[in-house]
């Protein structure tokens, strides 16, 4: 997205399964309280379902499962962090929201102790007061390999047209 104006990076911070995760503030569209989802049978296991975001239908991905963490207790509170990736909104379901954090300097390399899928999604860490901020690659988090592999270019959508279009009267 936007080129950083200085070395400072700004992250929206969230809590997921006890971890503090930061997402580049530029990709976060909004945060809404969890109000249940409409499940999508047969979908990828990380897809919790669909939410109705003011008339727009947004796919919600359970960030716990995406990171290979244990599932959330039934009835526990949760939030939809709606991120914009490839110009479409996707919700990452997290346990709690923190502040926007400004950090100077580049992140350190992620710890080697991260498990499985988390290793691909966490691109670095920042040392904060009292905790580690794991930097999440939101773009990668909303790519579900098995699903996008062959069917990604969802059929039914006409291939992008080079038409003069762009406007309508």
């Amino acid at each position: 997205m936007a080129a950083p104006r200085s070395t400072a990076s700004r992250y929206a911070s969230f809590v997921v399964g006890g971890l503090v995760v930061g997402v580049d503030i530029a990709v976060v569209q909004e945060v809404v309280r969890w109000r249940g989802t409409t499940p999508v049978p047969l979908a990828h296991e990380c897809v919790v379902g669909l939410i109705n975001l003011r008339g727009q239908i947004v796919t919600a991905i359970d960030l716990r499962r995406r990171l290979g963490l244990p599932g959330r207790a039934v009835g526990a509170q949760a939030f939809n962090v709606v991120v914009r990736v490839d110009d479409r909104p996707v919700s990452l379901v997290v346990d709690g929201c923190g502040d926007v954090v400004s950090v100077d300097g580049p992140p350190d390399a992620p710890p080697q102790t991260l498990a499985g899928s988390a290793r691909e999604l966490i691109t670095g860490v920042h040392q904060l007061d009292g905790c580690l901020l794991l930097v999440l690659d939101a773009g990668a988090a909303v790519e579900l390999a098995e699903v996008t592999a062959d069917l990604g270019a969802a059929q039914g959508k006409a291939e992008p047209s080079h038409a003069p279009g762009g406007s309508s009267r």
Partner: protein, 804 residues
Amino acid sequence: MTSTATSVAATGCAAEGEADDGMAEIVAEFLTESRESLDQLDSDLVELERAPGDRDRLSSVFRALHTIKGNAGFLGFAPLQAVAHAAESLLARLREGDLPFDAPRASALLDAVDAVREMLDGIEADGAEGGRDDAPLVARLGLLATVAGAAAETDPAQPDPSQPAPAEPGPSELGPSELGPSELGPAELGPSLAGPSLPGARQPQSAASRGGEGAPGGCPAAGDEGEHSSGPLRDATVRVDVDVLDRLVDLVGELVLARNQLVQRIRDTDDAELAATAQRFDLVTSELHDRVMRTRMQPISTMWSRFPRVVRDLAVTCGRQVRLEMEGSETELDRSILEAIRDPLLHLIRNSVDHGVEPAEARAARGKPAEGRLTLRACQEGGSVNIEIADDGAGIDVERVRAKAIAAERDPERLDALRNMPAREVVNLIFSPGLSTAATVTSVSGRGVGMDVVKNHVERVGGTIEVVTAAGLGTTFKIRLPLTLAIMPVLIVCSGGQRYAIPEDSVVELVRLTGSQSGDSIEQVAGADVYRLRGELLPLVDLGAVLGRPERDAEEPPLLVVLDAAGRRFGLVVAAASEIQQIVVKPLDKLVAAVKVFSGATVLGDGGIALILEVDAVASRAGILAGDAGRPAPAGKDLPPAGERTCLLVLRVGADRRVAVPLRDVSRLEYLAASAVEHVRAGRVVQYRGRTLPLVSLPALFASDHVAGSDVAHSDAADSDAAGELPVVVTEVTGRPVGLVAREILDIVDGQVAIERTACGGGVVGSAIVGGHVTDLLELTELIGSTLAPPSPGEPDAPGTTRA
């Protein structure tokens, strides 16, 4: 903390955009405007080539290019300006009448339009025209603007039109002076380009007389877009970003939902004033919804305006003379549908020019005018739009299609069907995969891919396509499309506590299974549910099971939604259904679009979400459409006889002998009392629904083939006495009901079995291994024909009647 994140995100975005917003906006507007002009230029230039005397059109072309040049100069796109300037200079000379508007000049101008278009693409992609070298093109335009008309027809200018300069950035070392006959095999391209100059030269007289009908091509709506100088009309329209429109549609959709909830609540109150207000609110909302939906509609001319150019270029490439006529280009369609059918239409047009319209000599020989006619028609009819692409060419050779289909058919059973198929149906086989009747593979079409893709594209947006042809007179493709994709009537059903939407056009009927009925009429045949609906056996699919949520509501008697999937009916078992609703279809994110069972989603009146079921996908997931019914069997797939018989009813006819019949041929399964069987001269019959039902004993037929004679007696004894009840398969394949007596009805299996074809005769077409047993496959028409006598004369020695 939530709000912090949100507001910060918002301001961040705003700051980011501020820097170069103004300029970017101007460039974006320039791109949009210029592209619209270019489309209009394409068709205007083609029209001018036909009717060079049309001064008004020439002026409008001149003005359009002038505007592009001016804007490009203002925005600092020098190369673009240079090309536009060269084209404009040529046009100026043409307008003054100094030079004739001939084919080479038309080609050069069209090439200039292409070059400008490519540069616009470049500007959109990375802000610059790209490393192009348009000097050759500019030089060519310059040359054509100076050389006198006579000279243009002879040597110096002639080779130039063959320069495909705009297509590729010419090699930079080639200076303008060097360009000429040496480059890029003009010998090969020259003649084909010289061709169109002939009609062009002949045109003036005929074009003048035709002026009136030629003009509709440049439909009024498109004309307005191109006219940048015309005042009042321009003010009547406003350019709106598509994203804004889409968002507006979303918001109105939400408003409608809120209205639904509100109005429902208010209806229950006694406040008359409030009720009146609610009613007005209701009406206004509906009206608003309707209007907003209409903003997404675009006249079909936005797509068609390009076609004259396409047809002209194709005609040149294919060496044909083709006149394009367009009717009803003001017909409006949802823009998403327009986009979806752009490629299919182009393909059909290509086909018509390349294969439909004959070369001039052939046309002359048939007494047709040398110039072929291609007509595009569009009109609205109720909730759909019809589009026709008609040519007056050779027509499709139906017998050749038939021959090709027969050659491609690997299933001997279908050959007869193909031979006897009426021509009207045969010709529609061209939409089958891999069937092309093009004698020659040209660069334009005829590789055997395409028509099936065309059909797919059209069907994907809910349309249909068919072709009508008359030998020697021409071919017409008829496409029928829904007006809009955004709104669709659906039936909302419930399963596993979730709601799903089924497109109304695949719903045939609803059947409520009351307690007693459900026990009676749902038959469990070895795990597969079948329901008898008015004599037809309907395979049942439990929606919950298909979706991997098998728990079914025990208390609620299930509801059957009879669906039609690609011509095949099946019953979908759901817990409940509500009424048909108009819904706003929302696409699914690619994350979930991969689940093919859903084609989209919608927000319901209460704010909840329902997934839209893709009926064909549900059927194939449930194994109903295992062979992709409705099409001729694709090569290399093992399908049972007749291609679409995917379900087989397996019967036991001897101690260890099994046969299978296509479930499609089965009307009913009955257990009849053995004592009810009566013997008449023609064989055994039973009274059944007030008629006599002739019986064919399968054990007698088949068990005797392999087993010793004693078994015949045994099997029949088993039939009539020991069992007490005879399992009877009622079929009507021969036009009257016939009962096939089996020992036992075993199973219904999916047709994905490897079938070995054997020529056994007597109604056996082959065998397969089904569930670990060798099973003979029966062809009922033949079996019954060879077994049962015709109703009156009687053939007492027919095999099935020997025991009589």
